[in-house]
Point group: C2
Chain length 337, copies 2
DNA sequence: TTGTATGCGTTATCAC
DNA sequence: GTGATAACGCATACAA
C-alpha cells in the first residue's frame, strides 16, 4: 500500500496525492475529495522511512535514560512521562535508549544513522562522556541536568545548591544548630553525579554561613539503605536535630529509623529536602520540601530541543529551576535536649 | 555523508562498501581494509531510514505503555526496563507510545506508517480496543496481559487467579476464616482491567472452596488510598483477620492503617499477595507474596515478538506465569478474637 | 572478486 | 491546477 496505489485508484498523479496530504499546494475540491476517499477506504498512511529519507528528518526524538536495571526514581519517571507526553503533543515519537553499563551500542545506534532529530539526555554527571559524544556527533541535544562545563550546551536543571541551602536556612531559623545532609548513593556521587555535588556544596555553604555544624552522608537510593544510614547517623551524631536530603527513595527508610529511635517528627526531629511531590506527601508527617516540577521540566526540555533543532545557530539556553519550598509538617522548632 | 562518499574515497563501487559492511559476500582483504579505514575516518554510519526503506523493516519495536500521567507501578516499570534491555540486546530500538486518554494519535502513529516491526502492548483489559486495532492493522504484536478472547493473539501474563487462590489457601491453612481482597483502583476494575477481574475470581473461588467468608474492595493505587481503604475495611468488617492483595502501590498505606489500628503483623493480622519484589521486601514485616518476574517477562515478550515476526504463520503462543509464593514474615496463624 | 543498475515510497522541482 | 520525474541512501540481482 503506497502513494502510487492511491494515485492509480483515484486516477491522479502520485504528486497530487502527496499534495492532498501535505496541503502544500492547492488541489481542486473534486480531486481532493476523490483522493481522500481512496485514502480512507484503503486506510493508507505514508511510509515513515520513505518520508524520513526524503525529508531528512525522522520526526522522532531520542530519550537517553539511566540504565533501567537500577530502579528509576519517581522524579526520573516523571521526566520520562512528561517528555513522552510533550513529544506526542508535537506529533513526535520517542525512541528510548538506556545508557551506561553495557548499553553503549544502544546509545550509538540511536545517535548515529540519523535515527532521531534530536536527543534529550537525563541523569547528567559533572563530566559526562555522552555529552562529549553528542557534541562531536553534531546532533542537537538538550540535557536535564548539566555538566561542569555546560556553557555551550542547552540544558535545564534543578538548582539543588539553592534549594538545599534554603532548607538549611529554614531549619536554622527554627533554632536547629546541628544538621545532617543525606546525599544520594556513594557510587553516584563518586561517579560525579551533579545534583549530589551541587547539593552538598549548597549545604556546606549555608551551614557555614549560619555558623552551624553539619555532617553529610551518602545513602543508597532505597528504603532499607535509608534506614541503616539514619541509624548510623543518630548513633554517631547524637546532637543532630535535623536532616536535609535529596534522596527521595530513602525517605521511607529514614522515617522508619526515626520512628524506631523514638524520635517524633517534627517535635523531636525535623526533616526537609528536595523530592518528587509524591514522596513528600507520602512521608509521615508530610515532608516540607521543594517539589521538583518534573512534569513541567520534561515539557520544557522538549520545547527547548525543538527550538534548538529549528535554529541551530541560536545561542545556548539554560533554565535553572528553584521551586519554592512547600511548608508541610515535617519541620518544627529545634527541641531542647 | 553517505555510502557513495565512502566508495569514492576508497576508490571502489558503492556496492562494495555495502558488502564490506554487511559481510554478505567476500571482499578481498586489501579492499576491505581500505574501505573500513575510510569508514572509520569519516565515522560513517548507514542511514537508518534508507536502510529501512530498502529492507522493509525498521529494526525497531513499539512499546505501548499506560498513560504516563498516572504513575507507572513498579511492575510496569520493570516491564519497560526489561523490554528495552532485551531489545537492545537484539540490536533493536524501542519506540515508546503512551496510550489511552488523548494519546490515540501517538498510538496510531506508531502502528501505522510501518514505523515499527512489531509491538508490545502492556496493561491489557478484558476488552481492549488496541488489541482490536493491532489485529486489523496486521502488525505483529505480543501482549503482556491478555484479553478475554485472546486465543489467536500471542501473550504472556501472570496467573493472578491461581496466585491469589494460593494466598487464600495459605491463610486458610493458618486458620483464618474471614478474609478481604484488596483490588486495584475502582476505575481500573470498571474499565475491565484483566488482573483485577481474574484475581477477584480466584479469590471468590478459593474462599468458597474453603468455606471462608470473603469481602472484596477496590482501592486507589497509592499509599493514601490504601490507608483509607483498610481503615474502612477494619471498621466495617471487624472479623477480618487477613488481607490478600494485588495492589502493590497501596501497600505502604495498608501497613500504616494496620499499625494505626494497633494490629501487629503477623500476630494480630496477616497479609499476602502478588507484588513486585521491591514492594514486598519494603513492607514491614516483609510481605509473603508471589514475586512477579517482571524482568524475565519483558525479556520473554521480546523473544516471543521476534519469533512471531520471523514466523507469521506459526500458531499463537501463550505463557502464563505462576511464580511460587515467597514465604516471608507477614502471615501467621489466625489470632484468637 | 568487483562493478552496474534498479527499486524501495516519498517529496519537490519542473514543465504543461 | 495537474502530471511526469528526479532525487533521498541503501541493498541486491545481475553482469563482468
Amino acid at each position: 500500500m503506497n502513494i502510487g496505489e492511491i494515485a492509480k485508484r483515484a486516477g491522479v498523479a502520485r504528486s497530487t496525492v502527496s499534495y492532498v496530504i501535505s496541503g502544500k499546494r492547492t488541489v481542486s475540491d473534486e480531486i481532493r475529495r476523490r483522493v481522500l476517499a481512496v485514502i480512507e477506504e484503503l486506510d493508507y498512511r505514508p511510509n515513515a522511512a520513505a518520508r524520513a529519507l526524503k525529508e531528512g528528518r525522522t520526526r522522532t526524538l531520542g530519550l537517553v535514560i539511566p540504565p533501567a536495571s537500577q530502579r528509576l526514581t519517581d522524579m526520573q519517571l516523571g521526566f520520562v512521562a512528561s517528555v513522552v507526553e510533550a513529544a506526542a503533543h508535537a506529533d513526535l515519537d520517542v525512541l528510548l535508549s538506556p545508557s551506561g553499563g553495557d548499553h553503549e551500542r544502544s546509545f550509538e545506534r540511536v545517535i548515529t544513522g540519523r535515527r532521531v532529530d534530536g536527543v534529550i539526555l537525563m541523569e547528567i554527571r559533572l563530566e559526562d562522556d555522552r555529552v562529549t559524544r553528542l557534541r562531536q556527533a553534531g546532533l542537537p541535544f538538550v540535557t536535564i541536568g548539566h555538566t561542569a562545563d555546560a556553557g555551550d550546551v542547552w540544558w535545564i536543571d534543578v538548582d539543588y545548591a539553592t534549594l538545599i541551602a534554603r532548607c538549611v536556612h529554614h531549619l536554622a531559623d527554627l533554632g536547629h544548630r546541628h544538621l545532617a545532609f543525606v546525599n544520594r548513593s556513594a557510587e553516584l556521587v563518586a561517579a560525579g553525579y551533579g545534583p549530589g555535588h551541587r547539593a552538598l556544596a549548597g549545604f556546606g555553604a549555608a551551614v557555614a554561613e549560619r555558623g552551624l555544624t553539619g555532617v553529610d552522608i551518602c545513602c543508597p537510593d532505597e528504603a532499607a539503605g535509608g534506614e541503616a544510614c539514619v541509624e548510623r547517623l543518630l548513633d554517631a551524631h547524637a546532637d543532630v536535630t535535623g536532616i536535609v536530603t535529596i534522596n527521595e527513595a530513602a525517605l521511607p527508610g529514614i522515617q522508619r529509623a526515626l520512628q524506631h529511635a523514638g524520635l517524633a517528627v517534627p517535635r523531636d526531629f525535623s526533616i526537609a529536602g528536595v523530592a518528587g511531590r509524591h514522596w513528600a506527601e507520602d512521608f509521615r508527617p508530610p515532608l516540607t520540601a521543594a517539589d521538583v516540577p518534573a512534569l513541567e521540566m520534561g515539557d520544557q526540555a522538549v520545547r527547548l530541543l525543538l527550538e534548538r533543532i529549528a535554529t541551530p545557530e541560536a545561542p545556548p539556553r539554560h533554565v535553572l529551576h528553584a521551586p519554592p519550598i512547600s511548608l508541610r509538617a515535617s519541620t518544627g522548632p529545634a527541641p531542647f535536649r
